[in-house]
Point group: C3
């Protein structure tokens, strides 16, 4: 009987009010009902437009009955709430509204609501939930944010959200409301820097190769090979930028390690640019993977291209009389080149797979670090070797240096080579030992106050 | 001390009973134990077959001790519970059973159980959990459904399930039990329509191309090119159906927009067929992606086919004397064709990636709509252009229209072209403005009762 | 007002203490603050190094205020806690520490902590959380383990963890601490057996094919075709091992079925080796998928290889005078071979997709079993047919059996053929009926005590 009494009380005290009978209001009501709450809608036309099978009352009546009220109404229509202030006194008002664009209004919707109804406890939150997610039961484990000035009001909303299967994060006072309202409007902020870097690199290398390949051929021999812009050039730019981006993923880790070695402590913050760089490594790697995939598809498509077939046929006709010997070294060279490319791409794919949230989440810490560090550096080494072998027999030929410029693949090998050399230095036993000690909390010049302090995890 | 008293009480009141010591019973017991409950098994042979390290009692004793009892026994053996009715009075009985097929029994298992033991509170639920998932700790964040006539009983089960990491949805009274029992038996219901549409389209186009290509050649020239059925024909049918399916993903959105514009309100429900269509857009897109992937692989495999190599070699021999000039326009044309195909496929893959639950769940509302709408329409445009370029120099040739029929790729361009034209119309500033207003709640002919009502989210 | 009183009490009783102001301590504190707790740090230098905007006190003061204390300090520094024993009496100490390697210390960190502070209730747990996951809000739905000797202490920690969005599993008394501490150090334990099997198979087949292809050619004709080691040989080994691994996924299921049929009951445990084998089927399938992907890429790359182009060109020159007829049977044969390969690979990919945690988790039980059983056996059949067609016209040629050894693809067809035959036997109506009855709980020789017992799920 203890159990029954307990749950009895619990079930009957909580009536949820919803103002607004739009998509969001209806979906939310249904979901609250399914989680065991009693729901009452507030509407100005209680008899005409309420959702079927729900209790629909006037706004005032709904406010009287419910202790917690969801405001599912557009900000432009908030004024009507001023007429309800006596009924809303002491109630928790949840503002779920979003705006269509950033910065339309001088103050956050929730702050405006609090100003209109000063007697109520306004909580901003749950605004990342869509009617669509509510209808289709996609709430389990989703994170939602709350903010508000009353701790009790936030606690009440948080308990309700937990029952709906959501995970709640408290973002502090109502002054954070604007941030929460901007949240559903953000558009891949963490992808901006990687995409910008990729775009700049691609622009540079595309232009560089255009001059070296197409314009050079036109100026020097008068040949028009402009058709190469579409595939041949792109298929040089993609792998070049992909390799540079991949090495840019691993460069900040090396820089951070050398910085810690130089400073002799891990307790000093990294400079801002390094922090920012390290935070977008995953996105950089995924951009690199995308470009590597494009490179692979472009390569597969080579033999069905008109230009390639034409060359094959005409080559045969021109060489008709000369004998054509099989060059074992050439066969080894090109095959090694392809094998390294394939293996590199395969490892790239594995790295990409572990960056899927559901796969990465199921890895232990050591597994994740094994994949991202060991496997990552192996991928980088193989892809770099793939680049070196590409030019294995062309480094010393003068014809390689058209107009005294090095070919694109040579330029792109600089960054990965530097990263690999730095990494090898870090793996030297003496350096590795110092670094491990520093990362376990040892300090070369500990703070003066207390030398043998308890170092922290 | 407050904390200790509280938890002390909580831990000791809850003893869970389990009837049945099969796979499911054992796994469930272990999991309950891990979540801090005390577990007692009820068995007719308490001394012979109980799980190691658990308390196993007779059914009657277990029923006396536990307030909540899981019935992990097949429906065929429920009769034995009638002998326990005095001990089960007022207890919560959780029916976890499933059937092997739909509609074997006239009444739901849980309803049958309630009829056998009228004094107990039967709750149907958790029946989507498998012994396998319980053993391997795959419960976190999973949604389970409950139904039952007693709110208190449901509340008790719901609290237990929440402690196991599950998210609980209440489906109402015990009359919903049949629906819950059919749940684990459903087999891709949302995939049926898309797969049916794809199968019909593939059947039609396959037959159409068979006549135009293989049978035409046989009838007109007596050539037997039936070997083309395997790859060449399939590699025409796949991209055709893929493109049509992709445009069918975006057509209902356009239709819905025009319907809202015509009605002047967003508050009227869409016709049923449109609702159903919109609900399976994701599956349609994924079927389209699958076909596009097959098209890509079929294309990569082209140059290693016997027929293609043979053609290359014989072409060279036959052309031996005629000179063979390089056609720049041809090179540009085919290369553009391939580039559009590759880029389209790449964007297709990105769209498919965001439809993975774990990736889509981590996107904000604006990011999701950006990917699915902007990126989706861009993909459709590029793939359509890929189709148009395929026939760029064949539109006017009479030999294209064998037996006065248009080639397959022309037919398949109709739907995507219509969708793109409709989309462009919707993007016209004046149309876009009206639509945005309507979607914000504005109505051309608002209900008469109250003109300036608070429009809802 | 009931609501307010309740939450008021709840919010104010819980002060969380954190010893240690390192990465983990800071991230944890921030997350606790966001979930509505009050946090106080304990530090030996409360005035110099505390995290900004947090209350930092001496260890003793922090211990006095908080009822639950997180020890975010390295094990090497635990000694300082002995000085605090009077303040820690009756408090809950959460040990979150991990070691860098297994087996460095004779006793678990948590056991050591309990020995140092016997008056406190030590709970080991949450040690799988990284500072990185805490900072980036990746906790939702994650499973964490707890163990400890006090049920109340575990309950308190469990409630806190649930509020953070974690799912808690109780692993029993503090003697399980070592197991929990080894958890973050595990490195793909379930992948070891599949990778070992794959490595052995690859080694064997590589060596076998090396002798048959490269060494045979060198010994018999003096030709040096060692360049084939890189791609041609690998592209034979990968599909062979992939097919064998795929059939090894489905073999244990067949063996288990025959074992149940032979024993006449499902209640006897399988032998250990079979259990272990069945538990790594998913990983075996994924290794097979990886090898199939490599096979696909190697195949796509064929026509751009130097050796292949050279052969094409030289073949044309040598055949210059002989006429070259199109062989329809050859075209059908090779095309069927490719089509089966493509379809098999496509189904392979689908199988792999459903093994992603987020995709598999959204399938119903019947959907999952449909994909893994029906689709899986279909894939196996298609891939086996792909293998058979490869040798369709070579089985009877004596030149196939170099040095009297069968070619590799014949060897690799043995296991899948056996699996398919066993599966067909199991699908025979009479066998299927018996097996279904057994799996529903029927026993041929039921235990003597009680014949008509209630069979369990």
């Amino acid at each position: 009987t203890h159990l029954h009494t307990h749950t009895h009380t619990h079930t009957h005290t909580l009536v949820m009010g919803i103002f607004g009978t739009g998509d969001l209001g209806r979906s939310l009501g249904l979901r609250l009902l399914q989680s065991g709450y009693r729901v009452v809608y507030g509407s100005r036309r209680p008899h005409s437009c309420g959702p079927v099978s729900f209790q629909v009352a006037s706004h005032a009546e709904a406010a009287k009955e419910a202790s917690l009220i969801f405001v599912c109404v557009h900000r432009e229509h908030y004024e009507f709430l001023t007429t309800l202030t006596p009924h809303l006194k002491g109630k928790v008002l949840v503002d779920l509204s979003n705006n269509l664009k950033k910065g339309i209004y001088p103050e956050a919707n929730a702050a405006y609501l609090q100003r209109l109804v000063p007697g109520a406890d306004v909580v901003k939150g749950l605004n990342t939930l869509s009617a669509w997610a509510l209808q289709n039961g996609l709430l389990a484990g989703k994170q939602v944010y709350l903010c508000g000035n009353s701790a009790n009001a936030k606690q009440a909303v948080s308990e309700m959200a937990t029952k709906l299967g959501l995970t709640v994060l408290d973002r502090g006072s109502l002054s954070a409301a604007r941030e929460l309202e901007d949240f559903p409007l953000r558009l891949f902020p963490e992808w901006r820097l990687p995409l910008l870097v990729a775009a700049c690199l691609m622009g540079f290398f595309y232009f560089y190769l255009l001059i070296r390949d197409v314009i050079y051929a036109y100026v020097e021999t008068g040949q028009d090979i402009s058709y190469r812009i579409m595939i041949s050039l792109a298929n040089k730019v993609f792998p070049i930028v992909s390799l540079v981006m991949l090495s840019l993923c691993y460069l900040p880790g090396c820089i951070a390690a050398f910085l810690q070695l130089y400073r002799g402590t891990k307790y000093k913050r990294f400079p801002n640019w390094l922090d920012r760089w390290m935070l977008c490594r995953k996105q950089m790697g995924l951009v690199a993977l995308g470009l590597a995939l494009l490179h692979a598809i472009y390569t597969f498509i080579i033999p069905i291209r008109y230009a390639v077939r034409h060359k094959l046929i005409s080559r045969m006709k021109n060489n008709k009389t000369t004998p054509f010997y099989f060059d074992n070294k050439e066969a080894w060279g090109t095959d090694s080149f392809y094998v390294l490319g394939i293996l590199g791409f395969f490892l790239y794919l594995l790295l990409g797979l572990t960056s899927l949230p559901s796969v990465g989440g199921s890895l232990s810490w050591r597994e994740f670090s094994f994949v991202q560090s060991k496997l990552g550096h192996l991928t980088l080494s193989i892809c770099t070797a793939h680049g070196y072998i590409y030019g294995w027999n062309k480094f010393l030929r003068p014809s390689t240096y058209k107009w005294y410029t090095p070919p694109g693949y040579m330029l792109c090998l600089i960054v990965p080579s530097v990263v690999l050399v730095l990494k090898i230095l870090l793996l030297l036993p003496c350096v590795d030992r110092s670094l491990t000690r520093i990362r376990q909390g040892w300090e070369r010049n500990p703070p003066l106050i207390e030398v043998n302090k308890a170092s922290s995890l």
